[in-house]
């Protein structure tokens, strides 16, 4: 029984990172209509910048985390300005942004590799307290608690921001119809930048936490996150940010449990298998109601 609970905790901590990443990814996908393949590299850059802030500059970890998150956010805004904004202006349709994001993905990944090198490192041991907390026979690491807390906080915070604030209203107006939103007086440019920043900053946070809890910081850290976050969005559904968060946690648990009881080799197979099954069986759930053209 303790083992089961321990695994649930481990799964939640792992899934928290997926949830976090998935929430940012879903924000861009559902509110801006962009399937952003480059989103994983935002996580990578967040983690790498935070790592250098700790290891080379010598900043304390909390500060380095903020630096990494902001750096990721800025890269997100730049990506939006360079790759997506021109297409938005041209009203380019669905595929063009995907292709532009593939370009940014290749670019950011290769630059990360060029700047930081291909070898993996990890955050120094003293970054966060590493002594496990023992509680009722469970062993919980402070980093695991941090993951779970961050994911819950961000998911619910973002949900509230999107449903209860003026920022949220502006985002909804723009995602429904960018042009009429501008007419009603929503500052479209500022809102779009803010969404891009928020989504990328969340990815950066997910990247830092993923690097911290897996003891592995490398230029391709974001790639695995991208795939899992993507699964979280699809499984969680299109409508609600909280769905992606919930699905992220579920995938984490699924991975830990399946690695324990089935085979660690098939861990990814199971995740992606679930992804495909959901995609195929519940397509209408993913995209809301059937899209209808207006003549």
């Amino acid at each position: 029984m303790t083992l089961v609970i321990q695994q649930l905790v481990n799964g939640l901590a792992l899934g928290a990172v997926y949830a976090l990443f998935g929430v940012g990814f879903a924000l861009i996908l559902t509110k801006m209509g962009i399937l952003n393949v480059a989103h994983g590299t935002f996580a990578t850059w967040g983690a790498l910048v935070a790592y250098f802030a700790v290891a080379d500059v010598g900043l304390p970890f909390p500060l380095a985390l903020v630096v990494g998150v902001v750096a990721a956010g800025v890269i997100g805004v730049l990506t939006d300005l360079v790759a997506f904004e021109p297409l938005r202006r041209r009203n380019a349709g669905l595929f063009a942004p995907i292709i532009a994001s593939i370009g940014m993905w290749i670019l950011l990944l290769t630059v990360a590799q060029a700047v930081f090198g291909a070898t993996a490192t990890s955050f120094p041991d003293h970054a966060v307290p590493s002594g496990p907390i023992k509680f009722a026979g469970l062993v919980i690491l402070p980093a695991q608690l941090l993951n779970i807390a961050a994911a819950l906080l961000v998911a619910f915070g973002l949900h509230l921001a999107l449903t209860r604030t003026r920022f949220g209203a502006a985002v909804r107006a723009i995602s429904a119809d960018p042009r009429s939103a501008t007419i009603v007086g929503v500052n479209a440019a500022r809102t779009l930048r803010l969404v891009a920043f928020t989504a990328a900053a969340i990815a950066g946070l997910a990247g830092v936490l993923a690097g911290l809890s897996s003891n592995n910081v490398s230029f391709d850290l974001g790639e695995a996150l991208l795939l899992k976050g993507f699964a979280a969005v699809v499984v969680g559904g299109y409508g609600d940010i909280r769905g992606a968060a919930l699905a992220g946690f579920m995938i984490g648990i699924l991975e830990v449990v399946s690695a324990q009881y089935i085979s660690s080799g098939f861990r990814d197979a199971i995740t992606f298998g679930v992804l495909l099954v959901i995609l195929v069986l519940r397509p209408q759930g993913m995209f809301g109601e059937r899209k209808l053209a207006r003549a």
């Binding site: 996908l29 209509g33 399937l35 393949v37 360079v82 790759a83 021109p86 297409l87 041209r90 380019a92 669905l94 595929f95 063009a96 995907i98 292709i99 532009a100 593939i102 370009g103 940014m104 993905w105 290749i106 670019l107 950011l108 290769t110 630059v111 590799q113 060029a114 795939l227 993507f230 699964a231 699809v234 080799g265 098939f266 990814d268 197979a269 992606f272 298998g273 992804l275 495909l276 995609l279 195929v280 397509p283 993913m286 995209f287 899209k291 053209a293 003549a295």
Partner: protein, 285 residues
């Protein structure tokens, strides 16, 4: 670069042109699909297995792979065609991810992490150009046909196409079959040239660079993907001197610049027609 290196590079350009045509076949019907990479993986490992373990001749392996690819295209179509654009694209990416997991875990058949060998008999210019020519010929013939016009219509405006009696799903199903056959052939040729295939041979990188090639060359005419593939294979080789291993920076940049400034690619019939139209009015005025 010396002549031998160029020879090899151009042969790989030929193979990636077939992959590019495989992506084009779906894109023609309005479907953005990376499934060709999955088709290529399945056919390449099947090819390795039936030739080396079962002992079929390589040519039979190629035919089998092409037919199997078509069948796989049908199955994939049934699986994913009910999805809307973004999710469809995602599902095909998921297929590529799952493909790698399968390769890693079906060790007896694929060699797992270590990969497996493949015979090199078909790794010649003759087979490469033959397959490419066949694919291009089929697409060129289909252009003005009932299917070809319907495919373009579905891509440009599926709702209007439907009001003309065209069922987008069945047009897209045909697109997937063509994509499967071409992807199957490309997988076998890739394996034949490399003579060794592993879990990373057919993965997202291949899919994204091939897609980039299609976009660069132009996704509105079968000639576009071929030209794009040749440029995209040769360009990194040319850049390897000045940029070293980071040549893909240029790939990335190029992709962004093209989709923004040249959204219909290098081979753009529409632009040609526009220019031609302008020329005419200029003369008549």
């Amino acid at each position: 670069m010396n002549l031998a290196a160029w020879n090899t590079t151009l042969q790989f350009a030929g193979v990636s042109a077939i992959f590019a045509l495989s992506i084009y076949a779906s894109l023609w019907t309005g479907v953005l699909s990376l499934a060709p990479v999955f088709f290529g993986a399945v056919s390449a490992f099947t090819f390795g297995w039936v030739t080396l373990t079962v002992g079929l001749p390589p040519v039979a392996g190629l035919v089998l792979a092409a037919a199997g690819g078509g069948l796989l295209g049908v199955l994939t179509a049934f699986l994913v065609l009910r999805l809307e654009s973004h999710y469809l694209a995602m599902a095909t990416i998921a297929l590529v991810l799952i493909g790698r997991v399968l390769v890693l875990n079906m060790e007896d058949f694929t060699g797992g992490v270590a990969g497996t060998l493949a015979p090199g008999d078909l790794g010649t210019w003759l087979w490469c150009l033959g397959c490419l020519g066949l694919a291009a010929y089929v697409l060129a013939r289909l252009r003005g046909s009932r299917f070809g016009l319907a495919a373009s219509a579905v891509r440009e405006d599926p709702a209007v196409a439907q009001s003309l009696g065209i069922n987008p799903r069945s047009v897209q199903l045909v697109g997937f079959v063509l994509s499967g056959v071409f992807g199957g052939m490309a997988g076998v040729l890739q394996a034949s040239f490399l003579q060794f295939i592993g879990p990373d041979t057919f993965y997202t990188h291949l899919g994204f660079t091939t897609l980039a090639a299609v976009v660069l060359g132009g996704a509105f005419h079968w000639l576009g993907p071929i030209i794009g593939a040749v440029v995209f294979t040769a360009l990194p080789e040319l850049l390897r001197g000045p940029l070293g291993e980071f040549d893909s920076i240029v790939t990335g940049l190029l992709l962004v610049v093209i989709i923004i400034y040249l959204p219909r690619g290098l081979v753009d019939l529409r632009r040609l027609r526009l220019l031609r139209g302008r020329g005419k009015t200029a003369v008549s005025e």
